[in-house]
Amino acid sequence: MKKLMLGNAAVARGAYEAGVTVVSSYPGTPSTEITENIVKYPEIYAEWAPNEKVAAEVAVGASMAGARAMSACKHVGFNVMADPVFTISYIGTNGGLLFCVADDPGMHSSQNEQDSRHYAKAAKLLMLEPSDSSECKEYTKRAFELSEKYDVPAVLRLSTRVSHSQSMVEINERENYELKPYEKNIAKNVMMPANAIKRHIEVEKRMEALKEFAENTELNTVEINEGNIGVITSGISYMYAKEALGNRVSYLKLGMVYPLPEKKILDFAAKFDKVYVIEELDPFFEEHCKAVGAKNIIGKEAFTLLGEYTPAMIKKAVLGEDRPEFDESDEQIPARPPVMCAGCPHRGTFYVLKKLGLVVSGDIGCYTLGAVQPLSSVDSTICMGASVSAALGMAKARGKEFNKKLVSVIGDSTFIHSGITGLIDIVYNKGANTVIILDNSITGMTGHQDNPTTGYTIRKEETKQVNLIALCKAVGVGRIVVADPFDVKNFEKVVKEEVSADEPSVIIAQRPCALLKKVKYTGHCTITDKCKKCKMCMKLGCPAISSDGDGVKIELNQCNGCGLCVNVCPFEAIKKEEK
């Protein structure tokens, strides 16, 4: 049976068919749906881990114990995973082990544009890269086989367009995979110097064997057509090239992106006058082709290191042909950037922080939008957890007075991911920072995943809930206040008090995400004739509130009646109306 499937759903299907029984991940766009789709298969144990490092370690434990196991993350999540992964590479596998990493060229939903293929080379892993949903499923299954055969952790490299495109997939039965026996093997599994030195020899042998495999595997396919142009490519770039160039060029499609073949590339390249290497982001294949001495290679001089490619761009670069003509507007079209939703609890927090003119050390989540107009409150965003630790660095650099104008903002899930370690640093090293935990009761940005603070597992089973107050208390924070960010007067008072304290403090800004089913705002807000047109409410950046001549209006179809604007109006001119 064939089905239209999202690339990520097809990876999950592949894992299911391969007999996988343990999957642990941390959500991250564009990888999240892999693990969300795993939940559809009751045979598989699935979990959201507190972060990617923990997830990778759960997966390697399962592999050591004899199961086929998997962990999925986005490209920056792989950085967090990297510590265990580099050493897991030495240990190898018992049951097949697969890490899925989804890159985001074009940065649709990311803070950088790193190319994860470098990790395969650096950590000496096997890496496969599918180009559509059907290959997502097939390559996932192949990855488990190869992982076991070559005693190597495998990586499936995805990109936004593969992960988030739907195409046809043939559905097969699940393999009846039996747990491999668990045997104590200190030489293989205890990575202390004496053992690791010996394992490194095995790693290099295995990589040699995989290079040999790369020469002959059908994962790397050659398609010879007319003409004197060759193209070396992989993943989504292959699809773009096929659409743009059709049968006018020949292809070497690399389904296995690490290790790369040598002879196969040399033989292919020798057939053509020009060989274009078409790959988004870094010149990973190009450098390899040049290093092995392939002739007539054209790479980044014809393309770019930046963003996503398109078929039109490839057609222009390779064949010199222009894109079709098109009509354009004659005027500037205003951008429509993403905004915090109507009723978003973060809006109250940022309204107060902006009003107080504080320096805001930001983090990764919906609340990164606190950096955009009109709130434009966030000063910095780096990576998961950095809001807390970077603020300590700022305070240490600029001193006490600066610290009294400084806060960190971090979501509940992000705090558990890696904010807690920064908070321990603050307490341990005598900082006096104020950390605001934006507790909206869910992992919002990636589409509502549960986390250790929500009290539910990935399968919506009730579980123990991390108590944020007790946690902060336990690491030594003496001042902990829970406040509702929509009660703006009180919230402002709390923030003022906490930033001026000479010791670490935590404010838990508690109000659930407006998109959660349990949140039932009703009615809507309206502007009454008491309005003095001060436009204070416009400072909220609420999508429901806009200018109306010199006054203000509230769009009823956008307003959900959350009532935040009622609380900020200095003239009591906004009224909540129940329908």
Binding site: L4, T29, P30, T32, E33, H108, S109, D132, T160, R161, H164, S165, Q166, S167, M168, I236, M239, Y240, K242, E243, A244, T310, P311, A312, R323, P324, E325, F326, D327, E328, S329, D330, E331, Q332, I333, P334, A335, R336, P337, P338, V339, M340, C341, C366, L369, V372, Q373, P374, M445, T446, G447, M538, G541, P543, I545, S546, S547, E555, N557, Q558
Partner: protein, 188 residues
């Protein structure tokens, strides 16, 4: 030759369901199909774009400038933004609804005037008040299916085939509402 359909709108307008109905319908007709969407940050009230491509064999899941046969626009500013993607001779179906983006709300930018007239002076358009039709069908949320109904007319896929996929795709309690919305669009 593949047929390229682009669906544009604002996050939360239901463009994903529209692409799902369209994708499932063309599969049932035996075509190869690719549907491409972007999740995450862009969904938070930002512009959303979905590509649906079908034909004997589809390679790239994306549609570039000058390549869309049909653009289904859920909002006028998004229609204007998508204009360069329309193929010469293509058609744009526009829901005549205006939603201010944040730069317009804050006064940093102006919402262009008479967008539908300007687009119609350049390319073939069909302008509809899908919001009223959706309300007539029973819910404003059915705007997406009204627009699918209008688009369905310009394909060579039979009415009954669309009805079949809508029944397969939407939750059971919303089938009647969506079929009514589809019919209102189709018979416009």
């Amino acid at each position: 030759m593949a047929k390229n359909i682009m669906i544009v709108g604002v996050g939360g307008q239901g463009t994903l369901l529209a692409s799902r109905i369209l994708g499932n319908t063309v599969i049932n007709e035996g075509y190869d199909v690719k549907v491409s969407e972007v999740h995450g940050m862009s969904q938070r009230g930002g512009s959303v774009v979905t590509y649906v491509k079908y034909g004997d064999k589809v390679y790239s899941p994306i549609i570039d400038r000058g390549e869309a046969d049909i653009i289904l626009a859920f909002e006028t500013l998004e229609a204007y933004r998508a204009l360069p993607y329309l193929k010469k001779g293509g058609c744009m179906i526009i829901n005549n609804q205006k939603m201010n983006p944040m730069p317009v709300i804050t006064g940093a930018a102006k919402y262009p005037e008479n967008i539908t007239e300007k687009i119609s002076s350049k390319v073939r358009t069909e302008i509809v008040d899908a919001v009223s039709l959706a309300k007539e069908a029973g819910s404003i949320k059915a705007v997406n299916v009204v627009l699918i109904g209008i688009m369905a007319k310009s394909t060579d896929i039979a009415y009954e085939r669309w009805v079949e996929t809508i029944k397969q795709t939407v939750p059971e309690k919303f089938i009647d509402l969506n079929l009514k919305a589809f019919a209102l669009g189709y018979n416009l």
